[in-house]
């Protein structure tokens, strides 16, 4: 077991380093974007005097590295500051949105992960049959439509008939059941978007093992094909499956801005895009770090689980 603990400690350390580098990249990239908060807030109404006044008040006239260091020192003390654009504390801005983002991601994952594992296993079991081909073709068709288009089709079919709401409004008073109902369409959209990838990987990972001698052996002994897959193939195929599930979970948390826009769902993606457009650097930084942390943690979890699923990796020579 100590192998696992060492790995976790090492990876967390690397993760912190990753976050640090990302904060520099995001800061640099946002700096490189033409314009700054002053010009983007004033837009067509900007005049040189008002732009200068805003820059002065917000300290945007300081050199970039000074501003970055100021931010870093505060952030290291746990203070992410306030939004430059609307002066609200960033912790408040992010709090509910982070909750919403996680809620939707978990909701979609709760449907998509079991569904895609099941379909993947069945497709491997009935490989090259009509079922396999049809499941594959359907899954591929669903991922070849852009997300917003899938969303529009679902709205047309399921919302215009009055079955589900077309916009997923949430506030503090929304009950859990109500929230599940309201966010059903965005969750379904995301399910359609991520299922194909996970299903195909499950199928491929299992089929990859079916030619191995030990599977051959089990089959020759007359074992039921479903049992062969579940007892012998699946445990050894877990590592790649876990990796791809983790990747898709990370996507559900960090990549769903388009779905948020279509369903008017107040999540972090929209906040990030808006803040980039307004060059509100502290908010951009905070959201980017949350996204990066989610990615690092999910990847770490995936690696730990893969290691645990394979005794050979734990008792490495």
């Amino acid at each position: 077991m100590s192998v696992v603990w060492t790995m976790i400690a090492k990876r967390l350390g690397l993760g912190l380093l990753t976050l640090f580098v990302i904060s520099i990249i995001i800061f640099g990239a946002t700096e490189l974007l033409p314009g700054d908060l002053a010009t983007s807030i004033l837009g067509q109404s900007a005049t040189p005097e008002t732009v200068a006044a805003i820059r002065k008040e917000l300290g945007l006239d300081l050199p970039a590295h000074t501003r970055y260091l100021n931010w870093l020192v505060a952030a290291l003390q746990g203070d992410f500051g306030t939004s430059l654009a609307n002066k609200r504390p960033i912790a408040d801005l992010i709090g509910t949105r982070l909750g919403n983002t996680l809620f939707l991601a978990l909701y979609a994952a709760a449907i998509a992960v079991p569904l895609s594992l099941m379909l993947g296993i069945l497709a491997a079991l009935y490989r090259n049959t009509v079922f396999d081909r049809a499941a594959n073709a359907l899954a591929l068709t669903s991922i070849s439509f852009p997300e917003f288009f899938v969303a529009y089709i679902l709205i047309f079919v399921l919302a215009q008939s009055g079955l589900f709401p077309s916009i997923a409004r949430m506030d503090a008073s929304t009950s859990f059941g109500e929230a599940l109902y309201r966010t059903f369409l965005p969750a379904l959209t995301l399910t359609l978007v991520v299922t194909a990838h996970m299903m195909r990987m499950t199928r491929a990972a299992i089929i990859n093992l079916l030619a191995s001698p030990y599977i051959e052996m089990a089959r020759l002994k007359g074992m039921n094909p479903m049992r062969v897959i579940l007892k012998h193939a699946l445990p050894n195929a877990l590592a790649p499956i876990i990796t791809v599930v983790a990747l898709n979970l990370a996507y559900l948390i960090t990549g769903v801005v388009v779905v948020e826009v279509v369903f008017v769902y107040p999540g972090l993606g929209q906040l990030m895009v808006d803040s980039v457009a307004k060059r509100d650097i502290p908010v951009v930084q905070a959201v980017a770090l949350i996204f990066a942390a989610a990615y690092v943690l999910l990847n770490l979890t995936a690696d730990v689980l893969s290691t645990l699923s394979n005794p050979r990796l734990i008792h490495r020579k």
Binding site: T18, L33, V257, V258, Y295
Partner: protein
């Protein structure tokens, strides 16, 4: 009743597709020889259909100016004309011929997607294989850089980069290829890591084979299957990426026709039950399915399973 009719049409379409696949396979077997013909004879109908579709797309892309009745950007009439000759699929919101734009779209879209994916694989797999083979500090540096790039959400990262560098087709290809290359790198590296510990690699090293030869002759052929599978999906994700980017306001420059942007431009119509946006979306979907059918077949051959 309507559902039944729809189902019937779907059944007819599938039957027609399989029939076309069968004819194509028969034709292909007849004109080829040797191992290729033998391989083709064993191809399932789905793979044959996939190859047929890919071939058709390539032909359309190459001969677009011959096939399309109108120029790509020409405004031929008023907007949203019905599906009648000479505008077989009607006109778009500016009065340009929809059929011609779809045909030119094949050229632009498939071209961009292919260039992007090829570039991503060239960068990603070379670096990935190199990292796994050489190991040590090179592996550490490359892996950490890739970790960092992958931890930034790809859509937002490309939005940032495209805003900084502008949205010409070349920057679009470079930006998406760079982001995709990180994914390919990870895959190539993890696959190659399992290969480099094999005895035959050890033997090749002892024979004194150079690094380049080792990678191209010994490792790459054995890592090909998962890379090809990944290629199939990545290829299609490029369309989606372009479409999502045009949703957020950056994308291919007008008046160039590309399917991703065409879906975006007409997408609102679908919420009124108008099927226009299904045309470019369907074109993307058909290609995705076709490419992956072929990929599945190649994977199956590589896995060594008999049935």
């Amino acid at each position: 009743m309507a559902t039944l009719v729809t189902l019937l049409w779907i059944a007819v379409a599938i039957a027609a597709a399989l029939g076309a696949g069968w004819l194509f396979r028969a034709g292909a077997v007849a004109v080829t020889r040797g191992p290729l013909a033998r391989a083709l004879r064993g191809a399932p109908l789905t793979a044959a259909f996939g190859m047929l579709v890919i071939l058709l797309y390539i032909l359309v892309a190459i001969f677009a100016p011959v096939i399309a009745p109108f120029a790509e950007r020409e405004v031929v009439g008023s907007q949203f004309l019905p599906w009648e000759a000479p505008y077989y699929l009607g006109t778009d919101n500016l009065g340009r011929d929809m059929f011609s734009r779809l045909v030119y779209g094949a050229r632009n879209t498939v071209g961009i997607a292919f260039a992007t994916t090829a570039l991503a694989f060239a960068i990603g797999s070379v670096l990935g294989l190199l990292a796994a083979t050489v190991g040590g500090w090179l592996d550490q540096v490359l892996s950490r850089v890739v970790d960092i790039l992958m931890a930034i959400p790809s859509l937002i990262f490309s939005l940032l980069l495209l805003t900084i560098f502008g949205t010409s087709i070349v920057t679009l290809i470079l930006v998406i290829a760079t982001i995709d290359a990180t994914r390919v790198f990870r895959l190539a590296r993890s696959v190659a890591q399992n290969i480099v510990v094999m005895d035959y690699i050890e033997a090749a090293k002892l024979r004194g084979e150079g690094l380049w030869r080792l990678i191209t002759r010994e490792i790459l052929p054995n890592a090909m299957a998962p890379l090809v599978a990944e290629f199939g999906l990545r290829f299609c994700f490029v369309f989606l990426m372009i479409s999502a980017l045009s949703f957020l306001g950056v994308g291919v420059q007008p008046p160039t026709a590309d399917w991703g942007s065409m879906v975006r431009e007409n997408a609102t119509l679908i919420t009124f039950g108008d099927v226009t946006p299904l045309l470019p979306a369907g074109a993307i979907a058909l290609l995705t399915v076709a490419v992956n059918f072929v990929v599945d077949w190649m994977l199956h051959r590589a896995s060594g399973l008999k049935e």
